[in-house]
Amino acid sequence: MFWFKNKKEVIDATPRVEDKPIILAQPNNLNSLTLRRNVLDWKDKHITNIELHLRREITSLMQAVDYELDKLSVIDSTFKIRKIHANIIQPLTDEWTQRESSYLLDEAQKELLSIHGLVLDKIDHNLEIGEHNSNTHFTDAATAASLGITGIAAIPAFASASAVSTSGLIGLFGVTTLSLPIAATGILIIGTLFAFSGFKMSSIKEKAIKRYREQLHLSITKSVLGDVDNTSPSLSEQLQIRILTASNYIINEVDE
């Protein structure tokens, strides 16, 4: 809520609007009209500034998030998304939100102080970025994991087949060697599968991270700037409401 900072000091040092009954159409109330206009200009400027600033600065948050995502391993991106989200992404957005909110409100507050010596209350800067709420990354992760397992499982399967064949040939050739052609074929297939699986692992990891990244970007954009479907106010709206509340409060006093 809106309040007077160091209320007693302000009362002592600065004449408050509420101390002066406002009666329009009297020359000595011109200062109130000027104050009214200044506050409206202040509101217009800072509500606009909040939107433009956040639109501009959100790219730095996105870049920071991307940098962290680029560092993720296959395991991280597959199994540790929740942990990474809680330990890396959310603190990153919290810190950014805190920093930008403080900057914007401080700027607005400084100017308002110069207009009338009023200050804005502190806002709850915490911004809950929606966690990866789609199951698609789990599908990606499951696909990558199952392909990898198929590759690993193929080794004993082909070795066994080769061995069986070899054991069948032992009596024929009297040697305990692997059938080279069969072993060679098995190795070729295994190698191909390994190569395929490795490629897919990297591709799917990228895909999973890409999807996570996209959803994170979308979620951050909605949380910071809002969209038509937003049920809870975005950061921009919250900060703008702060400015609007302060402006309405002063103007109501001037008009009374």
């Binding site: 329009l24 159409a25 009297q26 020359p27 000595n28 011109l30 200062n31 009209l33 000027t34 009214r36 206009r37 409206l40 200009d41 509101k43 217009d44 509500i47 606009t48 939107e51 433009l52 639109r55 103007i251 008009d255």
Partner: protein, 324 residues
């Protein structure tokens, strides 16, 4: 004798900051007291009568009006307004001081503005559009008729009661347009052209109301109505912010092949100008009761005031000097 002086007399004080222009007054920066009331004359009304969108334009835009208006006189007027540190021509929307526009001129302007309503937003269905258009035509006819009656009232033996009656009737019409503006601003989309149109129609009704009361020498009533309209303007226009209007304007744009941020900045240029004009309207409206107070204090009749202003041939703006 009404103590008018010319704005040039205050130029040095405004330039050095010892005098400040706010709304339609010049005040002393130190004491805060009123030094002079700015008041448009018949010259300014002649210059601005053909320029429907001008009140929403920056001062610099006036020079681009071309040969249709008396360019030299208009340039002079803009120079005066710049000297008085008006950022926009918003004040001319409601009249600097009180509107001296003749009722005939108001009627002509009303027609010009009303014709813009034909371009109603295309997302309104046809039937609804026809109903609305009929409703608008009905109010247009009513206001035109009232303005004609007001002009005719000059030749009555007892004009006073006629002007008072017309003022009351215009209040109803102003109420209609106020409601339309309120509705327009409550939508998720913002149609700037429609807003400008309704705002002009609304302010014409209010200006005519106040002029009628002044001509009837009901200066106290004119002052109270000025106060009430000032409050209404504040109620309507205080919540406007350039960024909100810009975002709502984008909602109206169907073509979205351009990046949102680009569209936003583009729209913001227009809406900043618009809000700035509306703030000028609010300030000018807020200082109008002060002018009426001065007229009451100095026993200057409304009719004498208008006669002097309408007879002015050179200065587009005069200053009612409170120090003389």
């Amino acid at each position: 004798m009404i103590p008018f002086s010319i704005p040039a007399n205050f130029a040095s004080g405004i330039a050095d900051g010892s005098l400040i222009r706010f709304g339609a007054i010049i005040k002393d920066a130190g004491s805060g007291g009123i030094v002079a009331h700015l008041q448009e004359t018949g010259v300014s009304q002649q210059l601005l009568s053909n320029t429907v969108s001008l009140p929403f334009s920056p001062i610099s835009a006036a020079s681009s009006l071309g040969a249709n208006v008396q360019l030299a006189a208009l340039t002079n007027m803009m120079a005066v307004m710049q000297m008085l540190q008006f950022a926009t021509l918003g004040a001319t929307l409601i009249g600097v001081g009180v509107s001296v526009a003749g009722f005939k001129a108001m009627s002509t302007r009303f027609d010009q503005v009303q014709s813009q309503i034909s371009s109603l937003s295309d997302n309104v269905n046809q039937h609804f559009q026809e109903l609305k258009a009929r409703d608008y035509r009905s109010h247009q006819s009513r206001v035109k008729s009232l303005l004609e009656q007001a002009d005719l009232a000059y030749s009555y033996n007892n004009s006073t009661s006629e002007w008072i009656r017309i003022s009351h009737a215009l209040a109803d019409e102003a109420g209609f347009y106020q409601g339309e503006i309120q509705y327009l601003l409550s939508l998720d989309v913002f149609d700037e052209q429609l807003f400008q149109t309704f705002t002009q129609l609304y302010t014409i009704c209010n200006s005519a109301r106040i002029k009628c009361l002044m001509l009837a020498d009901e200066l106290l009533a004119a002052r109270d109505i000025s106060k009430a309209t000032s409050n209404q303007y504040n109620f309507l226009f205080d919540p406007l912010t350039p960024i909100t209007l810009a975002k709502q304007s984008i909602n109206l744009i169907h073509k979205t092949d351009q990046p949102y941020d680009h569209l936003l900045r583009q729209e913001l240029m227009n809406t900043k100008q618009l809000v700035s004009s509306m703030r000028e309207v609010q300030d000018t409206a807020a200082t109008r009761p002060l002018l009426l107070d001065t007229l009451i204090e100095r026993n200057i009749s409304g009719q004498a005031f208008f006669e002097r202003l309408e007879s002015e041939k050179i200065e587009p703006i005069l200053c009612l000097d409170t120090t003389l």
